[in-house]
Each structure stands twice: as structure tokens, then as C-alpha cells.
Symmetry: none
Subunit: 198 residues, 4 copies
DNA sequence: TATGAATGAGACTTCATTCAT
DNA sequence: CATGAATGAAGTCTCATTCAT
């Protein structure tokens, strides 16, 4: 018999939050159920009332992080006058949330190597990318239709935009002193926009 | 180099190769000294004659992988007639090695989340990115000097190029059916080139 | 008995029945209070209102099973014309209930190894055997008195009968394809009868 | 890489012996890898060099016990002049080893309830019974051929003999004060012999 | 240089039991 | 009477590392 819905929801969130803190601080490798218990103030046994296994908890954590990042991505685009403006708004939104994004990066990046083998992780990442690209493609498409942009493949262009944003964040991990996410995302996107425009 | 050093070097390479196979197949999490011993045909004790710890072995493995990828990147650019050609050659080289690159991705990506905390990993990745960008920047610069490209910040542009390449590979992990590395790297770089050119 | 006592009795029986199902299906090892709660539709806390501990519940379950088997054994013998007929009736009764007996065997057999150490289990099994043998002995004795049987020790002979019946069931567990309980109990008892008769 | 053959054999035997002591003393439920480690003076990790799991160790222990009991059963029958003598020798051998048999009973009996569900345990017990019966059947058959015994089904009779022996041991667990293994096995077999003989 | 048996800390997970409501 | 969330001791198993030979 599972706990009452409201308690469940609260506990679930509480546990995921604690796990996320740990992973953000020390990496996915350092995630220990013991420490999750300690940080939540719950007992180890209680964790298992809410998550069948550590793997389940990890997955829930990944899904929450991806959802949060999608909130940033999907929260734009509706109102901008031109496609160019919409893309700039998208970039602004990403940069506005950059603190949170970088804070949570150890979580999603911790799953990357697992993604090669784990179906559930694959599914989560796949869904994430689908929604990510599906947010950007209509912007590109409207730009083409309005004559702002050249006649490119809209999804290809959306993928290029995503690649610049995500790729820059990736390079930032490689060298945090060399890459300035805000500046380099912005300049990368500007170059891309230059190529897209007529 | 004395014969003994030769043996050492050979053993070292052999151990790294075995470890790389394991990680390429099953991820960094699945790297076990036991299995390295089994695959090399050496005893577990012997591994520790060549590497102080598993961590040292991992690091050596990372460095070899990054070096290999740099071989691809640094092996170009000298002869091309124009900057545009040079960049296209770079893209061609990357795509030519795409099989090997994707094969080795679980290795480098396995270290990403570790990079947030581990100095040695940071140093290796930093050096890698430095050389990566240092290979691309002169191409951009020569393009500017020749009047092919606009007056952009050469390093910023190089970072944009790297972001497109690396970002596309990253997105490929998210959804291997949606992203076609060759096609999407090429189209991304073309869009970028469009923005760089006069 | 007050109504409350009725409820108690009913709940108790319900809990024992659920536990018995679990053990019959999956063995004593697989008995979990969680699952008893689930199967009864009661909460885990409630189980402890009716049984002080899991051990108490187990013991109650064992006693019920042994009682059921005694019902088979003790339900005979009164009316038969000869001792030989009475023993054959006993065998018939056992074979008639063989389905139920084999179904419940994981329960009683689950306690066998515990019987070496646990006083309460010992007492339950001891009482069971006493009543079992006490059902058979008078039959043998009457057979001796009537001149049907030789002058054997009646209890020894009763134990031999019980050993054949219980031993055959035991061998059936060893190899269910080799032993046919009905056939082999019958033939074993026939051989024994041949030895007992003048 | 598994340990050297001689060490392996010795360690394996040592571990099984320690486990057997524990189970003989306290039952299969009480078998803890921790305690096996303690009693052998080995570390917990070492146990897992020789047995993949606790279950594997348990099974090896079961097989050794069954083999030991078969040694008693199979070690007879070759030389006796008559079938009757051969069966008596068999009984004598069992009774001679009764101390060891009863000592080891918690081991084999601990597996009985598991036998309902576990294939490996089933296989071990099945093989045991097969060999047990295959030792007795030729004796019965020779008794029939020599005219000593009636024309019974030899395997049925062998099963009856085994049922008396094993069944008596089983009843002994039910009530150790009521059953005297030596006496009751002997008397049970004598009654059976009476029925078998012409 | 090489071995491989041994270690033991530490990870995950289970489950009987309690207790505030 | 009844609940069910919470507990935490206890168990199995893994694996990097060591060391005597």
C-alpha cells in the first residue's frame, strides 16, 4: 500500500531534491542512498517506500532536470514579432537561466555515458530532444515563411541552433575559464543567424 | 629508450587499450580492474605495477582518447586554398573519423560529470579544448585576413565551429535516430559559414 | 462468544488463510507481513492486533495445517469390520485428501528445520505425531486381539504405518515424477500388512 | 581468474564445512555469510571467490550432504548371501551412521520446502533419490529371482523400504522422545520383510 | 617483474515491527 | 479497532587494492 497521495508527492519531491543537491555537488557517482537519507532526514528504508531502487530515483531526478530545462526552452517563442527576435528571446531565456542550468549540468551529464546502454535514460533524453527541437522548428519555419530566412530545412536549422547552445555548454565544461556561456552562445547564434538570413 | 622501457610502454598501451574496449562497450561505470586483467591476460597485481590506481589508468585512457580526437582535428588545415575550404576539410575529416569518434564517446563522456570536481580531468579536457580551438582559430583568422570572412573575433568563431561539431555529437547521444552526425554537422557548419562570409 | 470475539476469530482465520496461501505458493521463506496485509486487505498494523509477531502467525498457521491433516487421520477407524479394513480405510482417506495434503506440504515442511531448535514448533509437531499414532495404534491392537495380526508391538507397528505414509510423501518431494503418492502409499502399506498378518 | 586448483578445493571444502556446522546447529535460516567468514577465519570477500553466491554455497552444501548419505546407502549390498541379509546390512549401515545422519538432517531438511520451487534443489534431490532407489532395487530383484521374495514390483518394494527408513527419520523430528530411529527403522523393515517374503 | 589469493570497507536493499493519529 | 508511514538493524554482495611469494 503506497503512502497517501499528498504525502507521497511531497516526499518524492523532497527525496529528488536531496539527491539532486548531492549530484550537483559531487556527481552522479557520489550519489549514495545513505546520504540521501541523511539529507532528507528520512531513514533509508523510507526512501524505498517512494522509489523502488536507487536507479528509479536517479531516473526521476534526470526527468525533473530535463523538464526544468524544457521549461526554459518551451517558455518562449509565442509572442515575438520576427523569427530573429524569437531566437534572440530564446537565447536570452537560456542565458537568464544559465546559473540554474550550469548548477544542474552534473545531473544530466552524469547520465550521458549511461545513455549508451540504458533504455530508460535513452527514452528520457530522446523525449527531451524531441520537445527541444519541436520548440525551435516552428520559429525557423515562420522565419522562412515570412521571407526572413532562406529556404533551409527547418529541423536541420533548429538542430544547428540547439547544437550551438548545447555544444557551447559542453565546451564550457571542458574549460570554464575559456568559455563564457553567455557570450559564446550569443555570438555563436549570431553567426548562425547571419547564415540563415537572406 | 631501453628495451625495458619498451616493454613498459607496450604493457601500458595494452592495458589502456583493454580498458578502452571495456568502457566503449559498457561505459565508465562498468570498468573493473578484474576485467582489465582478464582482457589483457595479465594478473591484477601486474596492473598496479603500471598504474598506481584505477583512477590513474582512467586518466591515461582519457588522455589517449582526447589525443586521438586531436589527431583528427590537428591533421588538417595546412594546405587548403581558402579558409572555407579548410573548414570544409576539417568537417570532412571529422566525418571520416565519425565511426571511431562515436565508438570512443562513452570514454570521454564518462568523464564529463567527473570534470566538475576532478582537477586532473579538468586539466586534460582544458588542454584538449585549447588545442582544438588553437587549430581552428588560424583558419578563421586567415579567412578574415584574406577578406573571405567578416571581421569577427576569430576565437569566438572557432568556438562556434567547435560548438556545432561537439554539440551535434552530444545531441546524437540524446537521440541517435533523430540526429545524423554527418548530415547535421555539415548543415550546421554550412549555416555558420553563411554567417561568417561577407 | 461475544460478537467481538467472533470478529476476532474471523479476522484471525482470514489472516492465517492468507498466510497459508502465500506459503503454499512460495514457501515459508517467502512469507512477508506486507503480502499478508495485501492479501487480506488489512493494514500491516492490523495484523499485529491479532498476532503478536510473525512467528506467532506462523505457528498458528502450522497448527491449523496439522489439525487439518489430523482430521483426515482421526476421521476413520471407528466402524471398519477388521483391522485390515480399517487400515485400508485410513489409506483411502489419506489418498482421498492427497491434493489438499500436497498443497499444504510446503507449510509443514517449511517448519521441519526449525523444529530442531524451536520449542513451540517442537511441541506442535510432537502433539501431532502423538495423536497420529494414537489413532493408528488401537487399530493394530484390535487386529492383534482379534488374531488377525501377529503379536507385534502395536505402537511400533503404528509407527511403521505412519513412516510408510509420511516417508512416501517425503520421497515424493524428492522426485515428483518417480513417486506416485497414491500408488506407492498403497503398495507400501500392502507390503507392511503382509508382514503384520499371520 | 580462479584460485589454484588445490587451494580452491581445500577452501571450498573448508567453507562448506563451516556452513554445514552453522546449519546443523541453527538451521538453514540461520546461515549468514558473515558467520561463515568468521568460522572459516576468511574474509567475506574471500567466500565470494569460491562461491558465486550464498545460494551456490547452500547448494554445494546440500550436494555434499546427499553424497554422504548415498555413501552409506551405496556402500552395501555386494556381498550378502541372501536379499534378506542384504537389506539387513543396509539397515545396519544406516543405523551405524545414524549419528552423522541426524546431525546433518537440518541441512537436507532445510531444503525441503525450497524444493517445491527451486530447480537446482529439485535436481539434486531427484538424483539422490534415483541413486538411493537404484541401490535397493537390485537387492529386491535378486530376492525375487532366488525365490526368497514374492513376485512384487522391485522398484515399488525398494520405494517402500526407503519410505520406512526416511519416514522414520522424519517422524523422529516430529518427536525425538517417541521415536528411536534405530529401533523403529529396524522394526519397520522387519514388518516389511515379513510381507515381502514368501 | 609478475602473480593471484586475500582483504574489508562500503554499497544497496529488505522487512518485521512500532506508533501517532 | 484500524491505519500506514516510518524505522533501522541486518543481510548480501562488489571491487579497488595489497602483499607474500
Amino acid at each position: 500500500m503506497s503512502p497517501r497521495a499528498d504525502v507521497t508527492e511531497q516526499r518524492t519531491a523532497q527525496i529528488i531534491a536531496a539527491a539532486s543537491e548531492i549530484v550537483a555537488d559531487n556527481g552522479l557517482d557520489a550519489l549514495r542512498m545513505d546520504e540521501v537519507a541523511e539529507r532528507t532526514g528520512l531513514s533509508k528504508g523510507t526512501l524505498y517506500l517512494y522509489f523502488r531502487s536507487k536507479h528509479d530515483l536517479s531516473l526521476a531526478m534526470l526527468e525533473r532536470v530535463l523538464q526544468r530545462e524544457l521549461d526554459t526552452v518551451e517558455g518562449i517563442s509565442a509572442t515575438a514579432a520576427t523569427a530573429e527576435h524569437a531566437l534572440r528571446e530564446f537565447v536570452d531565456a537560456v542565458i537568464r537561466d544559465i546559473q540554474m542550468i550550469t548548477r544542474l549540468m552534473p545531473i544530466s551529464y552524469g547520465f550521458l555515458s549511461i545513455a549508451f546502454r540504458n533504455r530508460q535514460v535513452q527514452r528520457a533524453l530522446k523525449k527531451y530532444l524531441r520537445r527541444y527541437i519541436d520548440s525551435l522548428t516552428p520559429i525557423i519555419r515562420s522565419g522562412i515563411e515570412s521571407g526572413e530566412f532562406q529556404e533551409v530545412d527547418p529541423e536541420e536549422a533548429a538542430i544547428a541552433v540547439a547544437a550551438v547552445v548545447e555544444g557551447t555548454m559542453l565546451l564550457w565544461i571542458y574549460d570554464r575559464s575559456m568559455i563564457d556561456p553567455a557570450r559564446h552562445i550569443r555570438s555563436g547564434i549570431e553567426h548562425l543567424l547571419g547564415g540563415l538570413k537572406q
